[in-house]
Amino acid sequence: MNDWVVGVLLLAPIIGGLIAWPLHGRLVEFVAIAAFCVAASAGLGLATAVPGAGRVTAFHGGVSIDALGAYVLGLTVIVAALALWASPRYIRHELAAGDLRPGDEGHYYALFLWFVATLIAVPLVDNLGLLWVAIEATTVVSALLVGINRSPDAIEAAWKYLILGTIGVGFALLATLLAYASSVHVLGESSDALNWTRLMSIAPHLNPNLLRLSFIFALAGYGTKVGLVPFHTWLPDAHSQAPSPVSALLSGVSLIAALYALIRFHLVAMAGLGSSFSSTLLVVFGLLSMAVALPFMIRQEDLKRLLAYSSVEHMGLLAMGIGFGGPLALLGVALHIGLHAITKATLFLSAGELAQQYGSRRLSAIRGTFRAAPVAGGALGGGLLMLGGLPPSGMFVTEFAIVVGGITRGYWWAAALAALLLACCFVALAVHGSRIVWGHAGPVEAARGIDGAMALRLAAPLLVVAALGLWTPGPLAAALDSIRAILGATGV
């Protein structure tokens, strides 16, 4: 049964993409949405089927999903749904503006579906090697999406993304090899020696030196995809040049997918080496990411780059939180992953709206949205507030949890600095946001037709984030708790 579901889940988008490739117009939109709906229903069904503590397996354990995987899977589906929902409006405008060629429409939707497929594959596979394959695949496909409109900047961004992504993922391969090698003398030559469930079970017997090396390369490799400083340099380029729905996917989900991989290695490392080694590295690089992101957020001219750097900041925060460990911080991390994905996706979508309306992504150009673009501008302002972590944003709760959790775990300086950096990043966001919303608007193209669907898809996610800041529904609480248990599996 599960085999079928997983099969549908992976094949529907792939086949849909193959069909969509040559098409264009309403038809391709329909095909894409149909294929996605099939996959989405399968994905959500699978995600909700996962019990709190146990796991859902398929293909003889080749596919094995625990609560964390289900969470990532669910987020992927939700964010992808938002992005796909926003795509037609965006793509039509691009076509009308001549930024996209008519032929590219089909390619866009096809690549989009394949990108989603690769992202979905990440939390499914149990084998670290296949996990690596999936992540590499996301790079390849999304690189094509980033450069889909052939402007010089887009090509530059895609090129850098491709090269740096490949290098990073190469290190990830090295990490995988070393993990494998560290297990060989226990498991011998067996094809499931890379199944992280197996690795976890025999972690204490793994070769510690190789394991240490392995985590270092995993940090460098998957850290590149996560966007941890100093491996993040591709991120602002790619996220700002990609079509906005793709940016939403990149910032919302693909970072999380890479983080998921990093978490797997972290767990193995903790099981094999004790918590201090990998945790320290995560905390250090998380802090570094937050610190480096700040100046780029303070002095930023490009709206989407601003959002991209804030993604760097939040990934840093998540890395720190995971490094901190401890129930409170991990609970915060678990919720923060989802909230950031949803908020950031919404922000990129509204940023896309504004960029199209103002014909520019420059912050100096996008001013006075309060009159010119009430819906998208409002969503952007609200989203920035949510991102900044002021009540009733759920991120207020998660940031509180991570900082307090970190300090109670003894990471005083790191957590204190994190709190300061969070505050400063919020200030940067608030200043930019207030200028965007109330700044003196120059000659602005009259507000584009506000369709209710757009208002809904921009407002609803933010409302959810706000609601989650005041109250956690029971099932979600249970799910988060089991995720926390997994994250802290071999913690203290």
């Binding site: 084998n127 090697g129 391969l173 090295l174 094809s191």
Partner: protein, 224 residues
Amino acid sequence: MTFTAVDAARLLDACSTSIVLIGVLIAGTRSIGRAIWLVAAQAILLSAAVAGVGLATGSNHLLLGSLVTLSSRGIVVPLALGHILRGSPVRQERNPYLGPRLSLIAAIAIVFVAFMAVDSAALGGSLGPVSAPRALPASVAEVLTGLLIAMTRRKGLSIVVGLLVFENGLALTAFSLTYGMPFVVELGATFDLLMVVVVVGVYTRRMLTVFGSLSTDQLRNLRG
């Protein structure tokens, strides 16, 4: 006479060292075309070493792996790159960030560093099927050399060459460190490599059409 583990070890050591040597040579050359063929040569040596280990341990999928390596890294990829190169106006690496001599020296330095930093003894005694003490440090050196090449070149294609050297280093690691990975992973990795090359091809073509050259100097607009 049979092909024993000891012979395999010798072969692996010899191949890996010579691969590193070739890597250094690549770092030292201006001509992109020559670089590509040197990369191909590395791949052939690599597959030979893998085959040797395969014979010694009698594991079939290593032999298969060597075959795959030969075909993909040794033949397909170089051909593809050569095709792209023919399409591009410039075939020489003009004024790189680091001149050929300097980067030759730097490469040698890196090799020394790698051989000093990584010794397989420290990593838990004999690794892999045959004890080839030079294999692991050689592969790390190869990886770093690849990155050095990518770091010091201006032409997009030379950066890709550097990337391939890097990839060869990874493959060398894979085989020197383990019995090779589970076969399915092996396939996936190779497929990904091919995909990368394809996408690179796509983008180099776009770069040619948009910028009229493969120099990365135009690719410096996105800052801050």
